[in-house]
Symmetry: C2
Subunit: 109 residues, 2 copies
Amino acid sequence: MRRGKVNIDRVFHALGDPTRRAIVERLSGGPISVSQLAKPLAITLAAVVQHLQILETSGLVHTEKVGRTRTCRIETEGLSAAEQWIADRRTEWEHRLDRLAEFLAEEEK
Amino acid sequence: MRRGKVNIDRVFHALGDPTRRAIVERLSGGPISVSQLAKPLAITLAAVVQHLQILETSGLVHTEKVGRTRTCRIETEGLSAAEQWIADRRTEWEHRLDRLAEFLAEEEK
């Protein structure tokens, strides 16, 4: 999934669920199969697959079937888009605080 | 809202809505009143207030009533928590890629 296709609504929505965040956390350590992924999660395989579909549509996870095994890995596009959106906000408010500090310093003179 | 109280589920869920992100974007530029905030948004004041409640419960926005005016400002706790969670994932996968590169370099020798 290319950057241009990432829908930021979907990324944040997908990350709002603790099971989906647990999947992303697990995959950050490296790619694993769907069944390995499902084992420690206290939910059905069908539920895991459903969460994976949401994560894949959001650009957070990529799954690929090789033979009879479906392997999942992190897709960095989704997390990068979320990270960038937050970083842009931080830049704005830090810039505002800098201007405020400058204004107060000028006032003091 | 103190750091310990931030619920990361709520933060990501809140950011999954385009109107709520537009509110956070606007407030990153500085505090404004609820009515100023509502003006450019094509929704009712009641809907804005509802979005603000969700943002406030998530630790993304702080509102305060002074006299007859309710003013809103960014609350950095929520965004920082989301930023930290994403940064932790990035650290993990970059660390894994480093280990992979080391392994491949060793193999080549």
